[in-house]
Amino acid sequence: MAEQQEKNLILRSITKRFGDVEAVQDVTLEVRGGEFFTLLGPSGCGKTTLLRMIAGLEIPDNGQVLLGGDDITNLPATKRQVNTVFQSYALFPHLTIFENVAFGLRSRKVANDEVGKRVYRRLEMLGIQEMAQRKPHQLSGGQKQRVALARALVNEPDVLLLDEPMSALDAKLRGQVQVELKRLQRKLGKTFILVTHDQAEALVCSDRVAVMRRGKVIQYGTPEEVYDIPVNRFVAEFLGAANLLTYQVAEGGVQTPVGFLKLDRDAPKPEGTLAIRPEWIRISEEEPPVNGVRATVRETIYRGTNFDVWFDPGPIRVRTSSYKHFHPGDQAWLKLAPEELVVLDD
């Protein structure tokens, strides 16, 4: 892998205001060279604004953008070794696919035969070389997206920015493209920064994820870290499903609406919230030795690969792939293992 040669991107205390609205508030992040980094958050959380400041399409009001140690905060987009795949793809409708991809090379006056070589190499890599002489309106959504990727990658950017590139694709294609994108990034060893509101996409693609909300980064880490140990309710609920239980500290554990539970560490506050993922809860016939909750089935929802079973008290949602069918009124023991219970900050 070429990771060592790739440059780190550092965002230092970035703030951006639009009128009275602080779109991005004091964001500090470090994206390592060669990693697939994702900015994840609901719409309006400032993730696209942050991406545009890395691209040079917006200038921050405060803070610095450093690429490979150089301050590029005020450098215009035209002077940055950073290219973008836009949400709308923004292909040039009057140019052929070849000329679309060649655009960045031509505007920098790269020699003609060199342009041809590099463009075709990228078109072949993305499997769209047959499209070279077509116009964008003759292409499907998936093909347009490949063209947009090729058009950015042909310039050998230090950082490739992807602004919700899958939002125009249908669900099936999206899943396929996520995996392809991840493979492409591994193969090239380049820094990719993806903006998305789709948590599944973030988990599939990223080496590290930053979860954003209202202009701030709430948590960042590997997909496993943010999924397994969410810091607060927002992260717990935004990434996947979570059962949230309020607690009060009691002797040897905590008291919750579903009963007394032991934790694998001391709760930091006298009262707060616990989270546990539905797929981490075990259902059993016998009472488990620790943290067993006697529960009654409220309803069952079939989801294809698994069932979501809602239990009282709580309600507690349990995701199970068991073939055993649960019917409303059935009784079972639930095991909320101490090591699976996450104590949230809020």
């Binding site: 399409l57 215009p76 987009a77 290219n83 836009f86 923004a90 040039f92 655009f103 960045g104 505007s107």
Partner: protein, 263 residues
Amino acid sequence: MRRMHPVITSLALATMFFLYLPLAGVAVFSVNSARYGFVFQEFTFHWYAKLFTNQVVLEAAWNTLLLAMVSTIAATVIGTILAIGLARFPWGKKLETVLDVILHIPVVTPDIILAAALVVAFGLLQYVSSLFEPGMVNMILGHITFEISFVTLVVRSRLVAIGRDVEEAARDLFASNWYLLRHVILPLLLPGIVAGAMLAFTLSLDDFVISFFTFGPSSQTLPIYIFGAVRRGVTPEIHALSTLVILITVILVVGTERLTRKK
């Protein structure tokens, strides 16, 4: 398509009929060999031929074309620059509304008001230079004045349709301002620019009021000639001339329509 009610269809056809009847009449009488009266005698191109030997008409035709071409080129260039400036410069909400109103005023102002204003303005400018004596220069300036708004409106709507995405993509791909203008904006804008120019050309060709208030002894245009000639009595030559003007206008309007509709 849904089928129209027969009453609506016949009403529409009747409207079309009454709208185009006078024009059709003019065209019919332009190829009628009878000089007077409303009886069709014989098909002839005699009046057209006569037209092309009439020095006064030919000179007026040349003046009309010169006026239309020069004013259109100038108005198109200025109007396009204005449209880009209006659509892309960060004016702010309030100022943008004001500019929008200013842009629309010349479109809705009656020609006669603009013409009168031009007479006053040129009257003052005559003290500065004799260039502003009534004549071709004044006519060209007058036509540019009312054409700019039309060009700007057409080009700006095209610019809005293109959107900013492609411009940002071009910047992201290292395009300088000039490269962006030359390779992205102008090619995408071209249908709008041509449509605007054709509209301006048509308006100039047909204009009577502003030309009438600003023309000089040697810069008579076809509309002014026709106006003068009709006062002496309508002749088949006038019919022939009118038919030609209508024909050119129709061609230009259809061309404009095609260009603006094309994606």
